[in-house]
């Protein structure tokens, strides 16, 4: 207990005060200004308990446990998120920080908050809907991405109807909100490999019907980012079944061939990384083979002129040379051989790409270079 200054309130008292202020704010009567102030004040107190500040260290585990327990008992996570729009600017950010801290809480290998949210999935769905409101979209985004780190929560999100709202959110006209939604969307589709691939397999039709819209979006950023993500998804070996299905559909091939010729060089380049999978497939279905054969000469001609200035990108040039060779050697479909042959495509060729697929996310640890 400090000798001077205010004596500290106990977590129970602060959480109680927060709950009362929040109820007043929810009611939205004349006193709502005062209520808003009280909410922010108590949020700050709780934040400082959890994180500490420049004057104090964060509190012991016992205090953190008490705060968390009080939050569960009062269903406070949910009411904070429901009323997020009414909380002031700094308070909104504090909600996100408090939420993320309580979420990360661990007892041994257990994550009690994750277990708690599993029983209250409405918390997750309310967060998703947060993307509809400009003022809280980014705060909800930061909480959602923290949730997506936990497999159990990611699974609930993926399997909810609300997940398909993301196809709309990633395309909204405000750039920062769309980008934030895209990061969350990507996190959900890539973080937990097993549940992601299960989700994609089980919902293949619906997901790719929606995904098609993103690839044809009028918004350049949406198009570029979703095409890049598509490449990453297909080349992830966990998604082998999904990939096989995707590269068997001639419409997808046509789309990629058209995207190879888009005005944007970045889109051409990303499309290349999807297109290569169609060509590398050792067991091409007849419709795919037919398209490639019909365009055999054009493709060879096109690819040999494709992004020739990328002479330093060795991997790209190797892959391009490989594709040209494959296309040159294409032979018309022999129906008898495939009937007797194995029906599962050999992943060997395709996987040569997936292991070395350039990952831009890993560049953050560059050494310093003085120039």
């Amino acid at each position: 207990m400090p000798l001077f200054g205010k004596s500290q309130k106990s977590p129970t008292e602060v959480v109680k005060a927060l709950k009362e202020a929040l109820t007043a704010l929810e009611r939205g009567d004349k006193k709502s200004d005062k209520a808003q102030e009280d909410v922010s004040k108590n949020l700050l107190l709780i934040k400082n308990m959890l994180y500490g500040n420049s004057e104090s260290e964060p509190q012991t585990d016992i205090v953190v446990a008490q705060v968390a327990q009080e939050f569960y008992n009062n269903n406070l996570l949910y009411s904070l998120i429901c009323n997020l729009n009414k909380i002031d600017f700094e308070g909104k950010k504090d909600v996100a920080q408090v939420f993320n801290n309580i979420l990360r809480r661990q007892i041994g290998t257990r994550s009690p908050t994750v277990e708690y949210i599993c029983t209250k999935p409405e918390i997750l769905f309310t967060l998703v809907c947060g993307y509809e409101l400009q003022e809280i979209a980014l705060n909800c985004g930061s909480m959602l991405r923290e949730c997506a780190r936990y497999e159990a929560l990611a699974k609930i999100l993926l399997n909810s109807e609300d997940f398909f709202n993301f196809f709309r959110y990633v395309e909204v006209s405000t750039f920062d909100i769309a980008s934030d939604a895209f990061s969350t969307f990507k996190e959900l589709l890539t973080r937990h490999k097993i549940i992601c691939s299960e989700f994609l397999e089980q919902n293949y039709e619906k997901v790719f019907k929606h995904y098609q819209r993103l690839l044809n979006s009028e918004n350049y950023v949406t198009r570029r980012q979703s095409l890049k993500l598509l490449g990453e998804l297909l080349l992830d070996r966990h998604n082998f079944t999904v990939m096989t299905r995707y590269i068997s559909n001639p419409d997808n091939l046509k789309l990629m061939m058209n995207m190879l010729k888009e005005k944007s060089r970045n889109i051409q380049f990303e499309a290349f990384h999807v297109f290569k999978v169609f060509v590398a497939n050792p067991n091409k279905p007849k419709p795919i083979l037919d398209i490639l054969l019909r365009n055999q000469e054009k493709l060879v001609d096109f690819l040999s002129r494709f992004h020739t200035d990328r002479s330093e990108d060795e991997q790209f040039n190797d892959e391009k040379a490989y594709l040209i060779k494959q296309i040159k050697e294409l032979k018309p479909f022999l129906s008898s051989s495939t009937v007797t042959g194995t029906s599962v495509a050999s992943p060997a060729n395709i996987n040569t790409f997936s292991t070395s697929y350039r990952s831009i996310d890993n560049v953050n640890d560059k050494p310093i270079i003085f120039d």
């Binding site: 994180y51 500490g52 500040n53 420049s54 004057e55 104090s56 260290e57 964060p58 600017f89 700094e90 950010k93 920080q97 980014l138 006209s173 405000t174 750039f175 920062d176 769309a178 980008s179 934030d180 918004n219 350049y220 950023v221 570029r224 890049k228 046509k254 061939m257 058209n258 190879l260 010729k261 005005k263 944007s264 060089r265 970045n266 398209i291 019909r294 365009n295 054009k298 096109f302 002129r305 831009i360 560049v363 953050n364 560059k366 310093i368 270079i369 003085f370 120039d371």
Partner: protein
């Protein structure tokens, strides 16, 4: 006020500046709905690598999370074709860097600097209290409103301090910052096990103070390696005036230059040699650039420094002091009757559009 996400709602007036390694443009525009002037940063994303794209995105996110009278806000951002537009309020006097290169090659006057740095320190106090380090305080990132108040910008290098009590140190070296090295603190440059914290920004404030006063950033003509060793040795950047001139053996103002035949340069130098900055200004810089981090104060403490006392005198008119610089305002801005997009069409490089002419045969 709602700022729309379409170029229809903004009328371009002129191109003010370049930004982001000259890959972006800053446009002066009028927001039609509110009839106010705004600054719109325009980037052609097609020319950007994924890393650069991420940097810009990061900057917008940070701007969206900060709200303070001395921090440049982002009003909205939107994409049209390949272009990203980021709308901010107009800062009529543009950046301190621009002010210096246009009108104050020898540096700004002390009183102006104290106003600007007070605003910067207020912004830093807020940023630090939210758990961030700015890492890019420099004249280029101090923008001045037509009414004279300054705003901090340049948030793409900002970094979160780990949130765990009072012992906060980070080790991360900012990416793509070769052009910021002169402003970095020795502890940041050193990259040792002890790391650095928000006081690194205070060192940059000290360097920026010299930059504003001298008209040129300290170590400008020093090689990167010797800049690093000097900083680590504890050499403190200095304000150049009659008290420090002869201590100064910098290449920039070397004694040979005084004997240089060009009369202009001699006159310029004469002006610099004869001026005198106050003792508290010298002390302020020394304190900011103190090698010992425990002595270096936090923004709140620095705001009480005697350097800021003259600000309290009433009747100081910053706009007058900044003459001959004239801010962009309602009265001197004329509209070009074009959408924001129209001007930008000129900037497209059509030469690399060599779309394969043949149609695929499906």
């Amino acid at each position: 006020m709602l700022y729309e996400t379409s170029s229809k709602y903004y009328v371009t007036c002129s191109v003010m500046n370049n930004c982001f390694f000259d890959k972006g443009k800053v446009l002066l525009a009028r927001h039609k709905t509110s009839r106010t002037l705004v600054a719109i940063k325009h980037f052609n994303l097609e020319e950007f690598t994924q890393e650069q794209y991420d940097l810009i995105m990061e900057e917008i996110f940070f701007m969206r999370q900060l709200k303070h009278p001395n921090i440049l806000p982002c009003l909205t951002s939107y994409v049209i074709n390949f272009d990203l537009y980021v709308v901010s309020p107009l800062m009529g006097f543009t950046s301190c860097h621009d002010l210096i290169s246009a009108h104050f090659q020898d540096g700004l006057s002390e009183i102006i600097i104290s106003f600007f740095l007070r605003d910067v320190l207020r912004a830093l106090d807020y940023i630090h209290s939210k758990g961030y380090i700015h890492r890019s305080v420099k004249a280029r990132h101090i923008l001045v409103h037509a009414d004279g108040h300054a705003c901090l910008s340049g948030f793409r290098y900002m970094y979160s301090l780990p949130k765990c009590g009072s012992l906060n140190k980070v080790h991360h070296f900012p990416l793509h910052t070769s052009h910021n090295l002169n402003w970095f603190s020795p502890e940041l440059l050193e990259q040792n096990i002890e790391g650095y914290d928000e006081k690194s920004d205070i060192y940059s404030v000290g360097v920026t103070a010299c930059e504003l006063a001298n008209g040129i950033v300290p170590f400008a003509d020093t090689s990167t390696t010797s800049m690093l060793t000097e900083k680590v040795r504890g050499v403190i950047p200095q304000l150049i005036d009659c008290t420090t001139w002869f201590l100064h053996d910098d290449d920039q103002y070397s004694k040979d230059e005084i004997c240089y035949s060009n009369e202009n340069i001699e006159n310029e130098n004469q002006k610099i040699i004869s001026r005198k900055f106050s003792n508290s200004f010298h002390a302020f810089v020394e304190l900011c650039c103190c090698r010992n981090i425990s002595i270096r104060p936090l923004p709140k403490q620095l705001l009480n420094h005697s350097f800021f006392k003259p600000i309290r005198r009433i009747g100081i008119n910053l706009q007058e002091l900044l003459q001959p610089a004239v801010p962009y305002t309602e009265t001197n801005t004329t509209e070009l009757h074009e959408d924001v997009a129209v001007i930008n069409d000129l900037s497209y490089d059509f030469d690399d559009i060599n779309i394969y002419p043949e149609e695929w045969d499906f």
